[in-house]
């Protein structure tokens, strides 16, 4: 039977995928054509959504971007037999934008139906977990892969795991940080909606590796579809024996649950997240003790981002060497970049580290959506630096970005055209920090409010030189004196917005 794929990812649905799916089903029923309609995840080429695919035994053929108005003409052009149509893209796997990527973490996203465990297994799922169950040194394997935390800090995952493994404790936990709050990032969401079993498998491997028997996935409340899909997937996993007292029939036990956030950005900081998971105000804890020693409910806890944990099954399945062979220098493996903002071809680009920012924006991104020249690019979320058009040659890896005074963060790339007012962006960084500061430390809580005031005076043209000096002092203080990255990194977008863009220009 002909299989028709229409993504059920919430981004695709945000621009009409549900209507497209319903129209296709209705049209086929009316014409008496038997089709199997599958709601896969999104391939990540969000600029092609709604991306409809047809498989009648000869591979998958793609059409996009399909709007509800196109459905009649798709049928008229016999798309169920891969007929020619102005929206034809040929075989999906030969779409250049996708073919030139290196999908490791996202290998199944957009390919399978998210809640089908049989499709998951048919595409290589659970092989990593099976390996881990009999592997003598899972932590060593992860360490050898060079995998670094994908949440933003880039800390080697293996070292964290080893600390938890060696820590004494009657109960240990695995916590997945799915509080993907950075503007310009959506990879965690798309993975959870498109391939939830990868995350479950990664967490189970982490649990087995360090001796933890329970896990929590902390998902932000702004992601209702991801919460729903993960909950359903956990239920499927339990019924199939992937989770529970006996993981895949072994003597290892692991189970997990989803906890939802409640609209606080700072809960993406690991210790604030632990507080929130314990049901309290999401306020940052001083470190030490490290969560690996004393984390959730005071127990040794592995805390990793969605993409970090979702990379683990592939590492266990194909071996650390295969992962290690990708990337450059100390940035190993692949990175899931997210092209966002004013960009013609936005979406998920997973590739080895080291591609330049300009190549990312032009080759994959196709420049701005508006067609105007790029003026600024913010890399790494609201705490990441703004780079100007003449800095785009920087390579996208942890160290090169740090050298350029920027950071990779969670891999979000937000592009702005000439219409952006950089002074307003600097103000927004402070405004955001003031709104989202947990209030525990003074440099962040008070500093951000003062920062907004000072920038308002600069905008108004009041004693500009003096106020710029004051802002600079304030940025120093926040950088040096804040308890966590919220206050500590807010100066990064503020300063870069002012340094890389002359004041006459930013204040226009």
């Amino acid at each position: 039977m002909t299989i028709v794929y229409v993504p059920g990812d919430s981004a695709a649905r945000s621009i009409g995928a549900d209507e497209v799916a319903a129209l296709i089903a209705a049209h086929a029923a009316k014409a008496g054509i038997d089709i199997e309609l599958r709601r896969n995840g999104s391939r990540g080429a969000l600029w092609l959504e709604t991306l409809v695919e047809v498989d009648n035994g000869d591979g998958r053929f793609a059409y996009g971007p399909v709007t509800p108005a196109d459905v009649d003409s798709l049928f008229a052009n016999n798309f169920l037999d891969a007929g020619e149509h102005p929206l034809s893209l040929g075989k999906t796997e030969s779409i250049e934008w996708l073919a030139t990527q290196d999908r490791v973490t996202f290998t199944r996203v957009g390919i399978i139906e998210p809640l089908s465990l049989s499709q998951y297994e048919a595409h290589g799922g659970l092989a990593g977990l099976r390996t881990a169950l009999t592997h003598p040194d899972v932590v060593g394997e992860v360490l050898a892969s060079g995998l670094r935390g994908r949440g933003g800090a880039g800390f080697p995952a293996g070292i964290k795991w080893r600390t938890v493994l060696e820590a004494a404790g009657d109960q240990k936990y695995v916590v997945c940080n799915a509080d993907e709050g950075d503007s310009g990032t959506f990879a965690d969401r798309m993975l959870m909606e498109g391939d939830p079993f990868t995350l479950i498998e990664g967490m189970a491997i982490a649990g087995i590796a360090v001796g933890a028997t329970y896990g929590y996935i902390y998902i932000r409340s702004e992601y209702p579809s991801a919460i729903e899909t993960m909950n359903k997937a956990i239920e499927v996993g339990r019924l199939a024996g992937v989770l529970g007292k006996s993981v895949l029939g072994s003597d290892k036990s692991f189970d997990l649950e989803v906890r939802a956030g409640a609209g606080s950005y700072v809960c993406g900081e690991e210790t604030a997240m632990l507080e929130s998971l314990e049901g309290k105000r999401g306020m940052v804890r001083p470190k030490p003790p490290l969560p690996a020693i004393s984390g959730l409910f005071g127990k040794p806890t592995v805390i990793n981002n969605v993409l970090t944990l979702a990379s683990v099954p592939a590492i266990m399945k194909d071996g650390s060497k295969s992962y290690q062979d990708r990337g450059i220098d100390r940035s190993r493996g692949t990175q899931v970049f997210q092209l966002a903002g004013n960009i013609a071809r936005g979406g998920i680009v997973e590739t080895g580290f080291g591609i330049s920012l300009s190549e990312m924006i032009t080759r994959f991104g196709g420049g701005t959506l508006t067609g105007h020249p790029v003026k600024a690019v913010q890399v790494g979320g609201p705490l990441g630096a703004y780079l100007s058009a003449d800095q785009l040659d920087v390579a996208l890896d942890y160290e090169s970005l740090a050298e350029a005074g920027a950071m990779l963060g969670h891999g979000g790339i937000v592009v702005f055209d000439q219409s952006v007012n950089m002074l307003q962006q600097a103000r927004f960084a402070m405004e955001f920090c003031a709104a989202e500061s947990c209030g525990k430390c003074t440099p962040c809580r008070i500093g951000a409010v003062r920062g907004v005031e000072v920038i308002d005076r600069i905008i108004a043209g009041e004693e500009r030189e003096k106020n710029l000096e004051l802002l600079n002092d304030l940025c120093d203080l926040m950088t040096e004196g804040s308890l966590c990255a919220m206050g500590g990194l807010t100066p990064l977008p503020v300063r870069s917005a002012l340094v890389h863009f002359p004041l006459e220009e930013v204040a226009k």
């Binding site: 919430s10 945000s14 621009i15 990032t185 409640a262 049901g279």
Partner: protein, 152 residues
Amino acid sequence: MKYLTWTDEAALEVVREHAEKPGPMLLTLQALQERFGYVETSLLPSIAKELNVSRAEVHGVLTYYSDFRTTPPASRQIHLCVAEACQALGVRDVVKELAAAGYEVGERSKDGATDVVGVYCLGNCALGPAALVDGNLCGRVSAKSLVAQVTS
């Protein structure tokens, strides 16, 4: 969204359902809001008692998280993303146009039917400006499309 009418008795039932879970407070308050649309502050002392914590602790959590409401919501909800990726696609103008149409972000609409909430990121950053309308994600929104949706 359909909510039940708040009664202290029904609310305490919900509290008791969650009281035994590890770290129950946030879960409990979320469950109350999911059921009734908001959390009635007069129940704080009873919630505190059920969870064996101080009133200050319940108040602290309820007021810390921006998701919580202490009064019943309007019948329609717009959560508009006002963060950087949507700014790059002109959400600042959308905010102004919405205000001009009687939908000030951070307020209830002039006709009283819609709450308009500004949020930071909905994870739809390649198809911005983005919004949740009654919990459903929408991409490439404009002030006009949003108003049309909540008045349809």
